[in-house]
Amino acid sequence: MTKGQRKENIEHWLLCLPALLKVLIFSYLPLIGLLMAFQFYIPRRGLFGSEWVGFQNFAYLFKSTIASRLIINAVVLNALGIVAGTVVSLIVGLVMFEVVNKVFVRASQTILIFPYFVSWPLVGVLVGSFLSERTGMLTNILYSIGGTRIDFYSEPGYWRAILTVTLVWKNSGLSAVMYYAFLIGVDKQLYEAAAIDGASKFRRMLHVSMPALNLMVVLGIIVSSANILRIDFNQVYFVTNNDPSLYKTTDVIETYMFRALRTEGDYSISTAVGLVQAAVGFVLTIVINYVSKKLSAQSLF
């Protein structure tokens, strides 16, 4: 390296330094705390005074129903969310692209993106206005049709569907607009050629637009599958109102860890769950990065 190159390099390092320090302290230091998963951690004694128990915490997790419940809930919710989210946003994006009236398109975009801006606590209030036992709109409609008053907040069976619907409702508008924005950039000649061949709009969607979006959709799906055990804490916690009677289908790793910190207080067990989650996520990311390299000739990182 010449003197000038060395100076430039040092300047680059200095530009990165503040962010590196922040991440080192706030994201890397906690990794040491993962050792708690192999301990019977007692806060008073700290990390170095607590008793080491090997894999006992993991054994407990997997022997009891805790781990299987948390993992199944996360996988089911994520799978539903990925499938429903992709299908809805893809269809909406394709349809938006075919609609000719630009004013209408813009209006629909503004409205469909709107839920993306609201916080999960507000979504929780909105869900309550539909499902609350006495005053909920949907509860009342179902009552007038069927004559029974469903108490949604004590029936865990409904909540996988409800959480999926709220997720799609909140986020799919934005994904649809992103698909739309991508289609705007597709070569117009492809559509002209399709029109010459007498292709209907549906065939055009299927054979011109869809292939153009293919890579984006596939990458989106595989990236989300790497997070199959991770769920947005805010969504689950605020939409279900953290109702314990719904835990059977809605309790996930994040909410479990939160309770451990706030009420039940077993740090070691919840760190062990967190470690399982992190390890699975890490392995999946490596695998998926490899797959996407094969698919798109570009790595995600």
Partner: protein
């Protein structure tokens, strides 16, 4: 050849058959209604008489116009206004810091002359792939960094959002190399090149990240829920009120010992809806106002990334 010229008439390519028109416009209309109805219900019910809401339930139209709920909300606005203050300060400071740090990293890692770019990139990417989870994090923040119940934890906790680095890096990579060469010839340092030459050229990228960052900070009840007692941003304030009103309703129905609320007329639902609106409406308005820039940048970011 004749077919080709006919196609030049754009309307022919774009025209929808009646069936297609009904289907496409119909689908979008249905979805728009599905998005709008919950909000309409919220707004309409907040302006309704609470006894009618209690009797009929929430409806997407106003039932006997009444401002009672809002009167209660604005009778003692202190807590809510303080929440707004917390949210505004945290969002402004946090976003500014986040964007500054992410831009510096995004710039440096976009330059091929930076020898450490791969290590630095991996250092940040790893934190997405493998996280300690928030139990060890909680103990570190609380017991070792003494961040519990401080402004610092709300501002610094989320700072350096890695996807923002990735978006900005893609934008910086699009800056023409000749400009960097010229800057080098003029003897500009990397700091000057980053802030005075490259950054002004990627304004759409910065705008996107600003928007994303503000949205993330504003709608984050989680950090405060875990790490503060007295500093309650608006998103969390709403959830606290929700819980409080749930409790009141429960007490009213079941007659709680020592709590004389049975039979008293607390406008529970309408009050909750009014608070929901008072805590979210101003920011939703601002987000909607700026959404066009955001979507444009996001789309180009997605294409580049």
């Amino acid at each position: 050849m004749s077919a080709r010229t006919k196609i030049k008439d754009k309307s022919l390519i774009n025209k929808l058959s009646p069936a297609e028109g009904i289907l496409f416009y119909g689908l979008l209309c249905v979805l728009m209604i599905a998005v709008a109805v919950p909000f309409l219900t919220l707004v309409a019910s907040s302006f309704s008489s609470s006894s009618l809401i209690r009797a009929n339930g929430a409806r997407p139209w106003i039932q006997a116009f009444s401002l009672d709920a809002y009167k209660i909300v604005f009778m003692y606005p202190g807590d809510m206004l303080y929440s707004y203050l917390v949210s505004v300060v945290v969002t402004a400071a946090g976003s500014a810091l986040n964007i500054l740090l992410c831009a510096m990293v995004g710039y440096s890692t976009s330059r091929s002359t930076f020898r450490g770019r791969n290590i630095v990139t991996f250092f940040f990417a790893f934190t997405i792939m493998f996280q300690a989870g928030f139990v060890p994090q909680y103990i570190l923040y609380r017991n070792y960094l003494n961040l519990y119940n401080t402004w610092a934890v709300l501002i610094l906790g989320p700072v350096v959002i890695v996807p923002h680095i990735i978006i900005l890096r893609a934008f910086y990579a699009g800056v023409p190399g000749e400009l960097y060469d010229a800057a080098k010839v003029d003897g500009a340092s990397q700091y000057r090149t980053c802030f005075q030459i490259a950054t002004p050229l990627i304004a759409p990228g910065i705008a996107t990240v600003v928007f994303y960052s503000v949205l993330t900070y504003w709608n984050d009840p989680f950090t405060a829920m875990l790490y503060t007692d007295d500093l309650v941003p608006v998103a969390l304030y709403l959830s606290r009120i929700t819980q409080y009103i749930e409790f009141l309703k429960y007490a009213q129905q079941n007659g709680f010992a020592g709590l004389d609320v049975a039979g008293s007329e607390i406008p529970e639902d309408t009050l909750l809806y009014a608070i929901a609106i008072a805590t979210t409406a101003p920011m939703l308005f601002i987000f909607t106002l700026f959404q066009r820039f955001f979507v444009r940048g996001l789309a180009s970011g997605a294409v580049k990334g």
